[in-house]
Symmetry: C2
Amino acid sequence: MSKSKQIVLVTGGVGYIGSHTVIELFTAGYEVVIIDNLCNANKECLNRIEKITKNKFAFHEVDMLNKKDLSDLFNKYKFHHVIHFAALKAVGESVALPLKYYKNNIIAALNLIEVMADHGVKSLVFSSSATVYGTPKKLPITELDSIGGCTNPYGKTKWFIEEMLFDICKVDTTWSVVILRYFNPVGSHKSGMIGEDPLGPPANLMPFVAQVAVGKRPHVNVFGNDYPTNDGTGVRDYIHVVDLAQGHIKALEKLNGKCGLKIYNLGTGRGYSVLEMITAFEQACGHKIPYEIAPRRPGDLPEVYADTKLAEKELNWKSIYGLKEMCEDLWNWQQKNPEGYSGVSK
Amino acid sequence: MSKSKQIVLVTGGVGYIGSHTVIELFTAGYEVVIIDNLCNANKECLNRIEKITKNKFAFHEVDMLNKKDLSDLFNKYKFHHVIHFAALKAVGESVALPLKYYKNNIIAALNLIEVMADHGVKSLVFSSSATVYGTPKKLPITELDSIGGCTNPYGKTKWFIEEMLFDICKVDTTWSVVILRYFNPVGSHKSGMIGEDPLGPPANLMPFVAQVAVGKRPHVNVFGNDYPTNDGTGVRDYIHVVDLAQGHIKALEKLNGKCGLKIYNLGTGRGYSVLEMITAFEQACGHKIPYEIAPRRPGDLPEVYADTKLAEKELNWKSIYGLKEMCEDLWNWQQKNPEGYSGVSK
């Protein structure tokens, strides 16, 4: 069957990474069906995707905790693959509301896996996170490094679902599963029409920096400048969201080869410090970003970055955008949408 | 409120440990409501409990995957505590059917916790297992030893649910939760009217030994006689099921004191080898038990036994039955019920 005929279900397809991936899927010739419960996404994002692609997407507002709705969807469409983005993802909220996270993320995944098995659709890309590595014993982090020791329920949901997928694929070799462990996605689509739209104060650095740049917040808090890194601030592996989205296209090609269970880091393989990120964003936006040094946050690691050789070798994937594009594209989105999607009437 | 008025929901109350605990709860003056989906239990066991106690128990056939049924039950009764036994528990089956185990055990637990929270019943005893310790780094095993590294989905379900309970109790101090980590329960009620009734060939040593003793099977397989133990065979901490059941009564007393999250090993604190167990059973049944040495099974550990000091100190609980009673009581049950509960018309 030609790739152009393949139908891909994208769960959480109206979210940040999901929406960027939908565009890349469309461009690559896949037919895309999107579901989202819109609990943390704005339907305006779907309008934007459709404007960018000049395409109308099949969209269903489905809560994945409702297994019957999921099952009906699989009766309606003959999916070839599923990319499962849908999940609650705020680390801090997960600590405050663990049951909400365990319930939503784990039951959604179990419902999906069961419905997929029932319908013979055993081809899945699962959105995981570098957080499953817990405190890495060495850098860069490879896919063979041990996982676990996550300190927050969000991270544990990703870890537990990975463990379930390991066990399922071990005994049922008719499954093809690619687990993608994301490092720190930033930036947005070149058009500036879609991007990351956090509810409330952003928990991640770059959306916060962008909100300071646009005047919504007075300054950036830099949590700790006494880490054992070049400039004392925390180092992370930031990756352009369009690069990340491209990784999913490569993962689908892998699934088409009946790959069993595979795990890949999606990062650039190089770390940048908080201060380097702020400086890069200053160059993109053309003015200074005020910041203040604040105490370290409990649980934050000094330095995290990926070994990306496996994805390069087996997926034939590599990030192509650098720090400059990450910051420019984020700034473009932020300037055009200072209030995110909620700045427009729905 | 006096103890005699407290209503306890027992999930999986028709199972092996559940049924023995129901009797101890009744004797201790609790009002008991039993649910069970009877997927791995025989309703004849309920008849037997009622004969032993000369009491009629409220019983509801509820599948805990059906959250609405659970919620209805909490509307019907004003529970003070819940003891959550209900779970699939066959290690080997869990490896073959991981999704079944993850779905049943984890969703049931999440549904229960959510319904309990919704109804303000935040007092739980959770049946866990020594299996959560994975490969112990030292013996005896204390509750402070690290958990994880479980190699089968059954063990992982216990471990993951424990992790969820840790996170929930960390932020919501109105919960009282006692996690009981069982070592190897054996034996049966003195009456011989209830006992362990495995479906198919028993996966655990002692029910297998008893079936050999009663002539249902030709010999016991002893998996490995080259372990670094006294006689080369594996050593486990066997505990009489009535002692184990008593531990739950003590756990309820702890819950009445608003204890936050507590974890206790339930074992005797002493290990016996496979050959010692066979010899002890020979003395109970009065004849030789044929056995054959077979290869080690992957994943089996040489030696596992509990440190029970914490339960002794904080629960005021200690096992009182020895090897002799374990074997005699098991033999009594096996002789009276060579076909288990299925030997009688329902």
